[in-house]
Symmetry: C2
Subunit: 148 residues, 2 copies
């Protein structure tokens, strides 16, 4: 894994300076945006680097294209994560405790919100809500399994 | 969320009877397969129910098709999860501790393995490895953010 050291040194030191917005809800949302946005950006960076290596040519135009794509995809991942963290925090406050049902409802609401904002049809909004809920539940289960 | 109660009553009681294979590695892998397979199956069930409700007709043929799709997608989700949990457990044992780098490497290896088994091109294997690593890292960060 050549990317291990690369993204480790890029991201680890930055994340210690968490932005303080004065409220845990905002802190979490912004933290989610920055962290997951960085992950999304790193993913595009790794993909574009691999494509450049495979083609064997690096031009100014391609680097610019890669940077734009990194920003765009990073912002998208960050927004989805920010919405999810915010929604999950709200559900946690309302329900009073935390389990996989929070993740499911949070993922479903996030999927619905994100696809509604992107002007999809009502049909797709429901499908994205179902997919979002399923993915969030699966991620919740998996993290518990690997951390136990 | 009409699906909350439905999948809650379907899945919660089952998961308490964990299969004991005699070794934590096998236990986790099987547990991951069952849990995430159930999540994948529930996702397809919810999607197919929604489609039936929207079209307004339920035939025997469609129910059979939905059941087949549930099994197929459930097995796929379960396999990916089982591989991920197994790989992550191995990495954790080798590295001796647990952080987001485990999730990243585990996700990348799982993405590479699953797409290599599915006979994709070398190009796609690397892309899936990158995507898998990014998704696993994002899930790890998100679960930490929402649980802290």
């Amino acid at each position: 894994m050549p990317h291990g050291g690369f993204s480790g040194s890029l991201t680890s030191p930055k994340f210690d300076f968490a932005v303080d917005m004065g409220h845990p809800f905002l802190n979490r949302t912004v933290d989610g945006f920055i962290r997951i946005g960085a992950v999304g950006g790193c993913k595009v960076a790794a993909e574009e680097t691999f494509e450049c290596l495979q083609r064997g040519d690096v031009s100014k135009h391609k680097v610019e294209h890669a940077l734009k794509k990194m920003c765009k995809e990073g912002a998208y991942w960050g927004t989805v994560a920010g919405v999810y963290v915010g929604v999950e925090y709200g559900i946690q406050k309302i329900r009073g405790h935390r389990d996989w049902k929070n993740a499911m409802v949070g993922g479903a609401l996030t999927g619905a919100l994100v696809s509604a904002v992107n002007n999809h049809h009502r049909h797709n909004v429901v499908k994205n809500a179902i997919t979002g809920g399923a993915i969030a539940t699966a991620a919740e289960f998996l993290t518990h399994l690997t951390s136990s």
